[in-house]
Symmetry: C2
Subunit: 253 residues, 2 copies
Amino acid sequence: MAGKADRAATEAALVWERPERGTRGPAPERSREQLTEAAIGLADAGGLAAVSFRQVARELGTGPASLYRYVAGRDDLVDLMVDTATGEIDLDAELTGDPVTDLVALATRTQRVHLRHPWLLEVPPEALRVGPRGLDYLEFALRALKPVAGLTGPGKLEAVAVLNALVAMLSGVELRARRSPTGRQAAQAAYLGAVAGRGGHPLLAAALAGGAADGPADGAHLGAGDAAGAGAGFERVVRRVLAGLLVPDPPVR
Amino acid sequence: MAGKADRAATEAALVWERPERGTRGPAPERSREQLTEAAIGLADAGGLAAVSFRQVARELGTGPASLYRYVAGRDDLVDLMVDTATGEIDLDAELTGDPVTDLVALATRTQRVHLRHPWLLEVPPEALRVGPRGLDYLEFALRALKPVAGLTGPGKLEAVAVLNALVAMLSGVELRARRSPTGRQAAQAAYLGAVAGRGGHPLLAAALAGGAADGPADGAHLGAGDAAGAGAGFERVVRRVLAGLLVPDPPVR
DNA sequence: ACGTAACCGCGAACGCCGTTCGCAGTATTT
DNA sequence: AAATACTGCGAACGGCGTTCGCGGTTACGT
């Protein structure tokens, strides 16, 4: 009784579980890989918003409806894009055996991918989206975490999640620092400066204006939480966070 | 020469810099606050996607076009929503003087707001969006960070950014753990389990299946990076990360 | 005092979006 | 040879953000 409806509901909800093509009809003229490639191209150029079924279809010389033979909807396409980008992270690096060092290196390689594909930061993190390459990534990170004693399995996964969130955020900072500020961004900076001068937020004003020990810090060229010597600071911040997260016995105070 | 065009380009790009109403015409029948309230109501119920100009207008008994008298576009509305939600974070708490303790407390209060307004996690972090209450929040965080010696001003802002990213991620974990898994989520969990059983990712399989020291960890009830005893673990993780981030001299190795 | 400039409300419309339907054509199974 | 399961895709649906333009209203400039 439940069999059929049950199967229809649970069966193949994710792309990874659906076969790329059936065994019956004519050979498909395109492939998931082609769709993904076209979509990533569009996203690299114009952000995730530029990835519409209509645009992707145009890129491939067909109509939007045709894409549904390869993919169940836009979500599937994004899944494929994310997993493909994840696959660009090099997982062949040798491990030194020191988890912090190895994860910092992994984070650096991950950030490079983020900088190459800024749309990754626009992907809504609501639904998780872990495909085959994502699983390889997790497995690699867990391998790097193997020597850590004080953490349970789920605890290690949580550490990886923290690392990913950290890399994403720092990549966003770096991206905004590189791009010449768009209208909105300039407006935010201006607003921030204006409020800082208004006197109600002295510490914020001080933090924005001064105190850069090593880098240029005129202040206005960066966004809000963005003010930081991002380039060289990346490894430093990641290392510190990981060190704090992985120590067997946390500092008590 | 540049005066007019320049002003038109830079003038009042953000909601906070535009007056709520002019001095000329009839009094507006509604207010930005009402729009914001309606929008937040819709978002609380149906996610950020449920916040459309048409829906908000319907909620207020008018047409979509009318809203443009209060707000320049959807982005402005989201700005208002975020800042209003930020205002729900209590900033009247006494500071103990220990930055880590004070920031952990702040993080906990922030998480409560995230859990009350899950749509906050769906807000694209691309554009920063810091309004008046956001500034108050930053000022408060910087006040808590005042005793920290080894960090420059921008460095402190960076630390706050890390904290926020961390809270957002952990809130997402907590939210997914509470909600009964939707179709997609269940599918992800099933896929994860299937791959774990396939043998190619032994460490991942182990991490998913075992090793929960204190909480229920059957594995399937959680998503991918989500496996963790999230509830009680929140403070622990935040404390560790902050401790690592704020130590004057980072561990060398 | 009064003309006019600036503002409010809003119906109608534009161009985009994701997605569904249905049909003609094609390859495989029975 | 019939049945079956697939492919490609034109047409259409409902929803979206946003713009235009118009009639009515208020306050400023003189």
